[in-house]
């Protein structure tokens, strides 16, 4: 009886551990005998205009065809989703706002930001045209929709802090970006911390107004890569950055075509696409001091709300996170 019992325990322990081990196998592997990835998995999103260009024009597929490397895209509904995909090793390159990426990095996510795809004013606080809300102070006690873990979320917290309010003074309703906009328009929430292009869309189609804007509270669009991908395939990181930069330059050189492409890929009306492009600055692309400064400021509010551990070494985390070396080498 006793030995049977012991055997049962050991058997259970082995089963549990082997299930755990199987579940942890890495999902991107090298081609046999080479230092090449089998596949490069990226995300695309309506808030990352270069990604839409790349998906439309197929430049990445062309670049890597000769190396027999597949390229795949998955749509992301927000920085929080991109980071989730990166952490779960479902994509190799993800597009996320700087501050959102910083949260993940501070909590141990093995990622680094290697390219700055935009300096946007993509987020602001939005309310309906007939609303009584005129300033951040008026948000007290109101329902505000926002996507947790994204730039609009951190902008909201910083705006509240600036107006002397705290997160607990409002009813924060977590909804993904498009659901948040829908909730604002249907009147279920009083305000929404918005994101382009959805924000531009509700401005044009529903007359919504941006009652609080602060371009400094927007923290850059950064392309993040998984550390293990960067370690194993550094040359490929450089090549992806080069193609991303090609897309950036194309948008700058062909504004009309870029707008049409944005309209088509993101299913936007021309006025909406125009507004989003106007609010996106594509002049710089190598991540460095400006991004680090913006993130240092954002880190204050993150620590205040214990979103990142209060004992985080902010400078160290940011310098490990923002890595401009790949871009410097690739784009010189």
């Amino acid at each position: 009886m006793k030995s049977k019992f012991v055997k049962l325990i050991i058997g259970l322990a082995i089963t549990t551990l082997s299930i755990g081990a199987v579940g942890c196998t890495s999902k991107n592997q090298s081609q046999a005998g080479t230092n090449k990835p089998k596949e490069i998995r990226l995300d695309f999103a309506t808030y990352n205009i270069e990604s839409l260009v790349l998906k439309d024009k197929g430049w990445l597929e062309d670049e890597f065809k000769k190396d027999n490397v597949k390229v795949s895209f998955v749509e992301s509904q927000g920085s929080n989703k991109s980071l989730e995909f990166l952490k779960s090793n479902s994509i190799d390159f993800g597009s996320a706002a700087g501050s959102a990426g910083l949260i993940s990095k501070a909590k141990g996510a093995p990622i680094q930001a290697v390219y700055a795809f935009s300096k946007p004013e993509w987020s602001a606080l939005v309310t309906k045209s007939n609303s009584t809300i005129k300033s951040v102070k008026d948000l007290k006690g109101k329902k505000v929709a926002v996507t947790l873990g994204t730039d609009p979320y951190i902008l909201l917290l910083r705006a509240l802090d600036e107006a002397g309010l705290s997160k607990d003074d409002i009813q924060l309703i977590p909804l993904q970006h498009s659901d948040g906009a829908a909730a604002l328009i249907s009147g279920q929430v009083d305000a929404w911390s918005g994101l382009d292009p959805i924000m531009a869309r509700v401005q044009v189609e529903n007359g919504a107004k941006l009652f609080y804007r602060n371009v400094d509270f927007n923290t850059y669009g950064l392309l993040d890569v998984r550390n293990d991908f960067a370690k194993n395939y550094p040359e490929y990181v450089g090549r992806v950055i080069k193609i991303y930069d090609k897309a950036r330059k194309w948008i700058i050189a062909n504004p009309q075509e870029a707008q049409k492409l944005l309209e088509k890929q993101a299913k936007l009306k021309p006025e909406v696409a125009k507004i989003q492009l106007q609010r996106t600055d594509l002049k710089q692309s190598i991540p460095g001091a400006p991004q680090k400064a913006a993130l240092t400021k954002a880190a204050e509010i993150l620590k205040k709300y214990d979103i990142i551990p209060t004992n985080t070494d902010v400078q160290k985390t940011i310098s490990e996170f923002v890595n401009g070396t790949f871009a410097q080498k690739a784009l010189k």
Binding site: A13, N80, K87, S104, A106, K107, T147, I173, L175
Partner: protein
């Protein structure tokens, strides 16, 4: 006289021993049930301590526990757990009340059964979570829509078990009622209801389980308070310890509420003389 006293004290001694043995028995049951989970937690903590499991994917048990304690200290834990439990209980009350009323009618009146039951069975076949986007569209993201969603989830198992229970009552008992000239209401009250009660209580237990499942779905979409909100917060703010913490709380609260139902079941069905009994009580 003294003989009577010694006999009484002997009986007292024996009953005291029986109570002690019963407690030891319960302790043994608990101990056996705890061994495997405890072993798993120890393995988990050890692997985390040695850094074999990355903390951003699976935080250590000590991180999860300290996060829960932190939340308890600020009182947030009780707010979130409280509102989730409230939603489940209110939804459960509405859903089971509707199921019992509707089930009684369809169970007793054959015509009503033939007309309504096919529709209800068809609705029951719809995977419960498929209702969520529709309800959010129709009822929004307020408290009302969450309670309705939970009530719908609770309704179907309770209804099904109740109707099956009524229809499964042994005809012999009903015939006895006919012999005694029972009216419809008397038949329902004195024969059908007690006979179908065991099925109803089983249905209530499944309904409650489904209610807990539905509250998670309801809270994943647009709520600022609740254990589901903690999960969304943990998912999006890179805090997997919050996800695990709220899963543990769901398990605890689910078990407690289920335990309450089991206790009620035991009290209400004390007259049963059935196969699964332990010590003359209804087995859990």
């Amino acid at each position: 006289m003294s003989e009577l006293n010694t006999n009484t004290s002997k009986v007292e001694k024996i009953s005291l021993w029986l109570r002690i043995i019963k407690r030891v028995d319960i302790l043994k049951k608990i101990a056996l049930g705890i061994i495997v989970p405890l072993l798993l937690v120890i393995i988990w903590q050890t692997l985390s301590n040695f850094g074999l499991i990355p903390s951003y994917l699976l935080p250590s048990p000590s991180t999860v526990v300290s996060t829960l304690i932190k939340l308890a200290n600020t009182g947030e834990l009780f707010t979130h757990a409280g509102i989730t439990t409230y939603r489940v209980l209110v939804g459960f009350a509405f859903g089971s009340a509707l199921a019992i009323i509707l089930g009684s009618i369809t169970g007793y009146y054959r015509v009503v059964y033939q007309v309504l039951d096919p529709l209800i069975q068809a609705l029951r076949a719809i995977p419960s979570l498929a209702w969520v986007p529709l309800f959010i569209l129709w009822f929004g993201i307020g408290e009302g829509s969450k309670v309705i969603m939970i009530a719908v989830g609770v309704f179907f198992p309770v209804y099904l078990n109740w109707v099956t229970g009524i229809k499964g009552v042994d005809k012999k008992y009903v015939e006895v009622g006919i012999l005694y000239h029972f009216t419809a209401i008397k038949t329902i009250r004195k024969i059908l209801f007690p006979a179908a009660l065991p099925s109803l209580l089983t249905g209530l237990r499944s309904g409650l389980g489904l209610g807990w499942m539905f509250v998670v779905a309801a809270e994943l979409m647009g709520t600022s308070k609740g254990l589901g909100y903690l999960m969304v917060l943990g998912e999006n703010n890179s805090a997997p310890e919050l996800i695990l913490g709220s899963i543990i709380l769901f398990a605890i609260l689910g078990k407690i509420t289920d335990g309450i139902l089991v206790y009620i079941e035991r009290r209400v069905l004390h007259w049963q003389n059935s196969f699964g009994e332990e010590n003359g009580n209804v087995s859990s």
